[in-house]
Amino acid sequence: MDAPSDSRLLDLQRVGIRFGGLRAVSDLEIKLVPGCLHGLIGPNGAGKTTVFNLITGIYRPTEGDIHFDGTSLVGEAPDRIAKRGIGRTFQNIRLFAGMSVIENVKVAMYRHAAGSLWESVLRMPRYWRDEATIHREATQLLDTFGLLSVADLGAEQLPYGARRRLEIARALATRPKLLLLDEPAAGMNPSEAHDLMNLVRWVRDSFGVSILLIEHHMPVVMGICERITVLDQGASIAEGSPREIQNDPLVIEAYLGADVEARG
């Protein structure tokens, strides 16, 4: 059942973090195999975003270890971790508001440019080649995400759903091995959310990237994730296939209970 440890892409080993007196995440184990589409669900405030911030180095775990591709990430700076192949989106969208849609994607391709700053300043041949390649790849990516027609608009002019798609495209432009998506369907209507989930699955299949997906609406993830971890008050209360999760009494209590409360 358990994958051998050397085939794990991401391995959270009894990870925990304390903010003052609050244990936002405790004793958390998540193991991802390459090519997975794994869901991380749980009610609001469960600690899901904190898990992303722990993986990407924004927070440093106070307990446990996080391995990516066989070596520890703990203590590395966020840009180093991203460089190792982890891309992400943010629950509160973080686009470059003063830049155009295509520039948002081009920034992410910065590390693909072969030329130095001097070659840019002196406009050497390599600068022009880099810019041509970056432009071609950014255009392709925008086309894939249905954003080509708005490529030259300011990023802040996009409607909400398109902003979320642009953030995913931007993260993919770094060519990550693992993509972390924080509530990509938040604020969308059910039909938009459905389309987005199909897009997420398609991204996993055609970009060969592994995905860890946060969502707090259960039905949205049930349809596409192969495995799901359920978080409640910072601890994992269940892990398994969507079917197993759906029938887990603890999940129903913690999760659907909260939903019923919210409705009622």
Binding site: A77, D79, G87, L95, V107, I134
Partner: protein
């Protein structure tokens, strides 16, 4: 061929500058020529700060300190070694760039207000060091510098500096700088070392401030520490903010206007700082993004096809 257009424009501009210098400047009003030269070196300082403050979003309040480093390095070197002033001007720029690296490396890791305080402090410290260094003339000033700053040399530097900054802005690095300004956390999430990017902007900005400072020394044949006090730094910030953060041509226009105005209207000169405050307040009320916002002159006029963006 299209790629070479901007060099052609620069070459034509420089040729025109030297032609003016040879055939027009000798017959023109000395006072006006002086103002035009002042505009030139202020533009060099402004374009460096536009990169740091406008495009990278780093609030530096010590730009005049880098001008001082460049001015005194270039001046002292020319005075004590006899090296040609135009060579020591470039060395002055490099000295300022080095100072930018030393100040920037530790302080750019931190955010916002901290940088403003550190750079303001740096500006003050530089002044105190100069005042207490006999080799640099101390408070009495460094005098007897060669007179080498002319209309032509100044404006040749302006064209080279403008082209340099423009090419930085329209490059992968330039995109990263604007990304840092817009959202540093997101930039880091793309695997980009934002501290490194900010230091690069800071060093480039300091280099052009240093060149500007050096030109001042060789214009007046003298240098005084009081010329590089923090009020000069604030003046430069006002030029960038009024011109538009995220624009290159906007701050250049504002820089030229704010240099010429007090010179042409002498009574205003004494109330310069008041003028800047009033202008900043008015601008905040009627046009909070500055004169051009984040646009360029070339976005507003149809030359864009030939000049490219960010002329």
């Amino acid at each position: 061929m299209k790629h070479a257009a901007v060099y052609l424009v620069a070459a034509v501009l420089i040729a025109a500058i030297w032609a003016l210098d040879a055939w027009v400047i000798p017959y023109s009003d000395f006072y006006i020529t002086n103002i035009v030269i002042k505009i030139g070196y202020n533009l060099l300082a402004v374009m460096g700060l536009a990169l740091v403050l406008g495009f990278t979003g780093q609030f530096s309040l010590g730009h005049a300190g880098f001008m001082a480093v460049g001015a005194y390095a270039a001046g002292a070197l020319a005075l004590h070694t006899g090296l040609p002033p135009m060579l020591t001007t470039a060395i002055g720029g490099l000295a300022a760039a080095l100072a930018g690296l030393v100040v920037g490396l530790p302080s750019l890791r931190l955010t916002g207000d901290y940088l403003a305080v550190v750079t303001l402090g740096f500006n003050g410290i530089i002044i105190v060091i100069i005042q207490n260094t006999p080799f640099l003339g101390g408070a009495q000033g460094l005098i007897g510098l060669p007179l080498a700053t002319t209309f032509a040399t100044t404006w040749t530097w302006v064209v080279i500096g403008g082209l340099f900054i423009r090419n930085v802005l329209n490059s992968p690095t330039g995109r990263v700088l604007r990304a840092v300004r817009d959202n540093e956390i997101a930039t880091r999430s793309l695997g980009i070392n934002t501290t490194h990017a900010k230091v690069v902007a800071f060093v480039i900005g300091a280099f052009w401030a240093g060149v500007a400072g050096a030109l001042i020394g060789f214009l007046n044949s003298s240098l005084f520490p009081a010329q590089f006090q923090y009020d000069r730094s604030i003046e430069l910030v006002a030029m960038v903010v009024l011109g538009g953060t995220g624009s290159l041509s906007g701050p250049l226009i504002a820089g030229a206007a704010l240099t010429a105005l007090p010179e042409l209207l002498r009574p205003i000169a004494e109330y310069r700082m008041v003028l800047y405050s009033v202008l900043l307040i008015v601008m905040m009320l009627v046009r909070p993004t500055g004169l051009l916002g984040s646009r360029e002159l070339s976005d507003l006029v149809p030359w864009r096809r030939w000049f490219g963006r960010a002329v």
